[in-house]
């Protein structure tokens, strides 16, 4: 088996979730790589929306470094502003959201505002909702990308920034006035999670070869449901890795986690 990094595995798994003939609303980094890889493999007719207002760009100039940048608008079919991108989404034209955050709970709610202290005086303030809160509400399916760590998979969020299934009740999202169907997948480098359609609780669907459900449970603060159809995660082949490294992120900004210093 080829040697691959954690972020390469996440990008590869993310691409597998995306279907052809859909529109995916992407943020910076791994989501773009997942979408590009999907376009190059099984989903040639998948298109991306960037929140700053572009639809169906061709990323021939390389990896956008922020979602409003020049590269994210390269050869787009439609180039407007944030209102246009989010209104198209609110109208129902974005099938998938890719979001991240600092914490996630068992119902797929995500925190990207602060940790510790209070809202008015946080110990560590993060950038805020950005597009994620709107994407989690309005894209049809929410895919989260998280590092699998106990401190991130928490019993209770310090702050709910992006709505998931709330308290798990069947009408939580409807009462919140949001229309997207909610959390769909949570992607980590060691496990792929979905959600139980009845209880809306996070469910382990796939584990990386060599790991058991117990190993994953140890990395998560809340009790996981285990799918009766539990599978091993598919690993990227040499060809897949070459495509990821040479075509999707040649500068290695995200896959190699090149830290800017």
């Amino acid at each position: 088996m080829a040697g691959y990094g954690a972020f390469e595995m996440i990008a590869y798994t993310g691409s597998g979730v995306l279907e052809d003939e859909t529109i995916v609303f992407v943020g910076t980094g791994l989501p773009i790589i997942s979408a590009m890889f999907a376009q190059l493999t099984h989903a040639p007719n998948l298109n991306m929306i960037f929140e700053a207002g572009s639809l169906a760009s061709i990323l021939e100039q390389g990896m956008p470094l922020s979602v409003g940048d020049t590269r994210a608008f390269r050869k787009a079919l439609y180039a407007k502003g944030l209102c246009n991108a989010f209104e198209l989404t609110q109208r129902g034209y974005a099938d998938y959201a890719f979001i991240g955050g600092a914490q996630i709970d068992m119902y797929g709610n995500i925190n990207s505002h602060f940790q510790g202290g209070t809202y008015g005086r946080p110990v560590t303030r993060f950038p805020g909702s950005g597009g994620a809160g709107a994407m989690a509400a309005n894209c049809e399916k929410t895919i989260s990308i998280m590092a699998l760590e106990k401190r991130r998979f928490v019993e209770k969020l310090d702050f709910c920034s992006s709505i998931g299934f709330g308290d798990g009740s069947p009408d939580y999202r409807r009462k919140a006035g949001v229309l997207g169907s909610g959390p769909y997948r949570v992607i980590t480098n060691q496990a792929l999670f979905g959600f139980d359609p009845e209880s809306h609780r996070m469910m382990l669907l796939e584990v990386i070869p060599g790991k058991k459900p117990d190993d994953i449970q140890k990395m998560v603060s809340f009790e996981l449901l285990i799918s009766p159809y539990l599978k091993e995660m598919k690993e990227p082949s040499e060809d897949d890795l070459r495509l990821l490294r040479e075509k999707c992120d040649p500068e290695g900004f995200f896959l190699k986690r090149k830290v800017f210093e």
Binding site: S54, L82, G120, P127, S129, G131, C160, G177
Partner: protein, 359 residues
């Protein structure tokens, strides 16, 4: 009769009762002009075509005052109105409210000025969706100010802030959105969940945002303020039209005859603009589609200085930065003088000659 309702957010929130009540009990206020005040200001303007070109010094000495709400254009590192921010810092203003979509260096520059000289420039509160550096990480001065409780924040989603500026631009007091509800933003921000009178479903209303002053950088404008934007429009047209006054910096002034040849390309109409300043590289170290790419090393340099201050509390390097690059410069051109020609040439090259209509 519209009924106030709420989602079931109370079932999951970790916010304290005290914090929730503090916000729930506060009477609603616009953090700047009310829709009626904004409308009156627009009506009072003379609306003929006039040459609005001037210097940034003059523009800001006219429109910058203590206590105003400044709407910052651009998005994260794209078309950040950096030249205007430098002049705001030079002239100084206290108790500012900042309203923006998503931004990085503009708010960090203002935050740094406040940390160094709070009697010269200070930020009282910020209404925002996102404040950070994107791929290079969290904004250290935001962390510093919030952890000390030095600024008040009001959080929305990116669409929430866009919708708020759009409501302002439309001249209506609010817009309904399909987000915020069911998240903690419902409990802490100034929006309100109501039952829709037509569908009977819950819907989240966000209040209009009218800045006193919009600061926007555009690729091109004529001398009257008719502006074109290429690449991401961000929320610049809405911010410009929502604000009471608007200052544009532009990469270049183009002839108004050219604007009349392609009126469909005008994103900001002259009537909402009060001052036009031709300032090439006016968004650097940010990017401007069709003109230049990010100056990433510059972002890293500034962020590193801010990170060091946050960790050590020592202001020396931060002060040296401001003394050299802002207070030590008379104009933004003087700041650009400090950049090697080779760097500027390279930033232009890295843009990759995007398709824009100049003729």
């Amino acid at each position: 009769m519209v009924t106030r309702v709420s989602s079931d957010i109370m079932n999951i929130t970790a916010l304290s009762r005290e914090e929730i009540n503090k916000r729930a009990d506060a009477p609603f206020e616009f953090w700047g002009p009310t829709p009626e005040e904004a409308r009156k200001a627009a009506v009072a303007k003379t609306k003929g075509l006039k040459d609005k070109q001037c210097t940034l010094k003059k523009a800001l000495s006219t429109y910058l005052r203590d206590g105003i709400n400044i709407g910052i254009g651009g998005f994260v590192n794209t078309r950040a109105p950096v030249a205007i921010i430098h002049e705001i810092i030079r002239q100084g203003a206290k108790n500012l409210t900042l309203s923006f979509q998503s931004n990085s260096i503009c708010c960090e520059l203002l935050a740094g000025a406040m940390i160094l000289e709070p009697d010269h420039l200070s930020i009282r509160r910020i209404e925002l969706a996102w404040y950070g550096y994107g791929v290079i990480g969290i904004a250290p001065l935001l962390r510093y100010l919030t952890s000390k409780g030095m600024v008040e924040l009001d959080d929305y989603t990116n669409y929430g802030m866009s919708a708020r500026f759009k409501a302002g631009a439309m001249g209506v007091p609010f817009l309904p959105t399909r987000d915020h509800g069911g998240s903690d933003m419902e409990l802490v921000n100034r929006g309100q969940m109501v039952k829709c009178p037509f569908t009977d479903e819950n819907v989240y209303l966000v209040p209009a945002c009218h800045p006193d002053l919009a600061i926007i950088h555009v690729p091109m404008s004529d001398m009257y303020g008719n502006a074109r934007i290429f690449g991401a429009l961000c929320t610049c047209p809405e911010i410009a039209q929502a604000a009471v006054n608007c200052i544009l910096t532009t990469e270049q002034i183009i002839p108004d005859g050219n604007i009349r040849s392609y009126p469909n390309l005008t994103e900001i109409p002259y009537a909402v603009v009060d001052a036009v300043v031709e300032q090439p590289f006016g968004a650097t170290p940010g990017a401007c589609y069709g003109y230049y790419w990010f100056d990433m090393p510059y972002f890293l340099k500034f962020k590193k200085i801010c990170d060091e201050f946050r960790k050590t509390g020592n202001k020396d390097k931060l002060r040296a930065y401001y003394d050299e690059y802002i207070f030590g410069c008379e104009t933004f051109d003087d700041f650009l003088e400090k950049k090697p020609y080779k760097l500027l040439k390279d930033l232009i090259k890295q843009d990759g000659a995007q398709p824009i209509v100049k003729i």
